[in-house]
């Protein structure tokens, strides 16, 4: 088999319990975002746009929908002869069924998979971050530094830094220390959970880690510190641009609202770095005579007959005449009935909001969720 430069492995096993009912039936990376996308479209489109051919997706919890979604590798053009998106749930072994016990363990359990492509480097990604990034540029950085490991970092404020894994670096951005959520951060370079490893080294490190009883088998907690201790060459790759972790209802709402901002940093309109997603049957959006649509981000298939201000409407949403939607995120196939009034609410997919379910959330209160529909295949 021809040598692939870099195999990407996406950790997509998060339960996302803080996303409440939105993830009752689906895994977090499959959550809808931005009018037409799912979160995992971002790392997958980044891979496609960066020229990566092989992507493994490590899934875990209740993931039929996620598994079958990412298996449609043609969405990201990853269905060529020698490319593919491979779904890798935990496997039945001769000693029974395993679960992934940590981010590193998920890779360890798939060493055979990675080996079969004989890659020089492996790219580790997370399935639930929203950002656009050229992994090929990071790969060139990795090669130019003759690095063993490169870790993408984001410059955060020192205040925020205590929420992240922080890289302390020398003047060449070589990493000298890693601190997980430090109380007194010495640097503002936060790990984005995006790593390039030389595969031979990672493979050995993972197998060593497997034997350590006290290890939590986690990249941040175990693997990275071990490699720093071993004197390996780890470099921080500074990422500039929009990056968002959408772990809560509030941050999911915020990330959607960011698209309405005049300084929309994510810029999904750039034709040279498109984000690809499933092509759902939908007619063009229809804005009726009675509609009032302002400061909104609206996807195809929507029928808007009511008022929509400062909101994001996903595929095939219906806003009936007389409905009022303000500061809301309305997910696919939802129907807002005539007379319903919503403010600062996320409406889940396939939900129906009658006037009785109207909900107006005050500016200083947490965003609320209405979810009375289900998720569907296809």
């Amino acid at each position: 088999m021809k040598k692939n430069n870099m195999v990407a492995m996406i950790l997509a096993g998060g339960r996302g319990t803080r996303l409440e009912d939105l993830t009752g039936k689906i895994a977090k990376p499959a959550v809808h975002y931005g009018g037409k996308y799912r979160i995992i479209d971002f790392p997958l489109s980044n891979c496609a746009n960066s020229g990566i051919k092989i992507v493994g997706v490590l899934t875990q919890y209740e993931s039929v929908l996620l598994n079958s979604y990412v298996a449609q590798d043609h969405i990201w053009g990853l269905d060529t002869k020698e490319s593919g998106v491979y779904v890798l749930p935990p496997r039945e072994k001769s000693d029974g069924f395993g679960l992934y016990r940590g981010t590193a363990d998920a890779i360890t359990q798939n060493i055979d998979f990675i080996d079969s492509f004989d890659p020089e480097t492996v790219l580790i990604l997370s399935g639930d971050h929203i950002y656009k990034m050229d992994y090929d540029a990071m790969y060139r950085f990795h090669k130019n530094n003759r690095a063993d490991v490169s870790i993408a970092v984001l410059e955060v404020t020192l205040k925020e830094a205590s929420r992240f894994g922080i890289m302390n670096t020398d003047q060449h951005d070589q990493i000298v220390e890693f601190e997980e959520k430090p109380k007194q951060p010495k640097s503002n370079l936060a790990s984005m959970g995006v790593y390039i490893f030389n595969w031979k080294l990672l493979r050995k490190t993972l197998l060593d880690d497997l034997t350590l009883e006290k290890s939590s088998h986690d990249f941040g907690k175990d693997i990275i510190p071990a490699l720093i201790n071993d004197g390996k060459r780890l470099f921080a790759y500074r990422f500039k641009g929009y990056w968002k972790d959408v772990g809560t209802i509030d941050s999911l709402w915020e990330a959607n609202m960011d698209l309405l901002s005049t300084r929309n940093e994510l810029d999904l309109s750039d034709p040279s770095w498109k984000i690809y997603t499933q092509d759902v049957n939908a007619f063009p959006q229809i804005i009726g005579e009675s509609a009032d649509v302002k400061n909104a981000y609206v996807n195809q298939g929507c029928v808007v007959l009511g008022q929509v201000h400062n909101s994001v409407l996903f595929t095939n949403v219906t806003i009936e005449e007389g409905a009022v939607v303000k500061d809301c995120v309305i997910m696919p196939e939802a129907v807002i009935r005539s007379g319903a009034k919503l403010e600062r609410v996320i409406v889940g997919p396939h939900s129906e909001v009658t006037p009785q379910l109207s909900k107006v959330v005050k500016a200083n209160e947490p965003i609320q969720l209405i979810a009375n529909g289900g998720e569907h295949h296809g």
Binding site: K36, H74, S269, N281, A291, V293, N295, Q300, L313
Partner: protein
């Protein structure tokens, strides 16, 4: 699965949508913001379980090839089925000889090799939805040699101009084939769609080709009215014949009727098309949009009324767009007013302050034009 091959012929020379069809063949013509004309007939075929389709192209085949691709987006299994674009196997000495009969004749081996017993011969400029599995059953049950799908209208003075008209006897047998010159209100219009056995089609093509090298398929049909049992199957529902710029504009304006839209965009009968991976459309703070159909990727800061916008259209602040069709990637600059206008792809209005056509004579702005 229907046991039929679907054929989409190219339109005869009376069909001319001004500059729009100078830049691309009819099947690739933009329609309703996100579709191309051919999507409607191919969706009809695919939804009816027909997965072998021939699309004949008169000239400039590239956009048709690129749009149809493998047929994946039309639910055509590329291993078992095939959309074949047929173009220019044999060159004509003069364009006038490039008739639909000639095109079928020069690609006759693809027709002969097809395994289906029946064919449905259609055209891409006739826009309607129909279940051809049902129509095929009706055809077989009727005992006719050929069935022509027909549409009765009492607006023949304004619509379906230059379309073929049918004269019927009491038994719905076709006795005459004429042309709608807009003089009579009530007409039975031919939808240029024929159901027949493949073996009969092969005979008719060869016969027509021998009769005259200027013959079109409807000429052949007319010659056979006395010899074959040719009947109509009336079509229920909306039909649009996109055979002129006025008809193109008029069809778009009619689509702005929500009832009609609901009829046509029925979730059990999807109109399938190729995706472009455009982002959703952005409505800015000052946008005023009413009674319009909008594709993805637009940025609207101005006013849009009774209009259809293709992908990636930009309407800047203070601009006013009324009763117009803006094809994809067009831009209306700040403060500019356009009305009854058809803007071809990539064109941009930045300098003239006002641009107005009329319902009968919509104004066409050519591809990549900047005015």
């Amino acid at each position: 699965m229907a046991n039929a091959l679907g054929i989409i012929l190219f339109e005869n020379p009376s069909v001319d949508v001004a500059g729009l069809t100078a830049h691309r063949p009819m099947p690739a013509l933009s329609f309703l913001g996100r579709y191309r004309l051919v999507d409607f007939m191919i969706s009809n075929f695919s939804n009816s379980g027909i997965n072998h389709i021939h699309v004949h192209v008169k000239e400039k085949p590239r956009p048709v090839y690129e749009h149809l691709g493998t047929g994946r987006h039309y639910n055509i299994n590329s291993k078992k089925g095939k959309i074949r674009v047929l173009y220019g196997e044999v060159e004509t000495l003069n364009k006038v000889y490039n008739t639909d009969i000639f095109s079928m004749m020069s690609n006759i081996s693809f027709l002969e090799e097809d395994k289906n017993e029946y064919v449905i011969v259609s055209s891409s400029y006739m826009v309607y939805t129909a279940n051809f599995e049902d129509l095929l059953h009706t055809h077989i049950g009727s005992g006719a040699d050929i069935s022509i799908i027909s549409h009765s209208t009492d607006q023949a003075k304004d619509k379906f101009l230059h379309c073929d008209t049918l004269t019927l006897d009491k038994d719905k047998r076709v006795t005459g084939l004429g042309l709608n010159l807009g003089k009579v209100k009530t007409r039975t219009i031919s939808l240029d769609t024929y159901i027949l056995k493949k073996s009969l089609l092969l005979k008719l093509i060869k016969k027509g080709y021998q009769t005259s090298s200027l013959y079109w398929f409807n000429n052949v049909i007319r010659d056979e009215l006395d010899h074959l049992n040719i009947r109509v199957i009336p079509h229920r529902g909306h039909v649009f014949a996109i055979n002129s710029l006025q008809a193109y504009h008029q069809a778009h304006m009619e689509f702005l009727n929500p009832v009609l839209l609901r009829d046509l965009f029925n979730s059990n009968w999807p109109i399938l098309t190729r995706t472009n991976d455009s982002e959703p459309t952005t409505y800015c703070d000052k946008a005023i949009v009413s009674n319009s159909i909008i594709a993805n990727g637009c940025k609207i800061s101005g006013t849009v009324i009774n209009s259809v916008l293709g992908r990636g259209v930009v309407v800047e602040e203070g601009a006013v767009v009324v009763n117009s069709i803006l094809l994809h990637q067009t831009t209306i600059g700040p403060g500019i007013h356009v009305e009854h206008v058809v803007l071809d792809k990539y064109s941009s209005i930045q300098h003239v302050k006002e641009l107005k056509g009329s319902k009968v004579n919509p104004l066409y702005v050519t591809k990549r034009d900047s005015i």
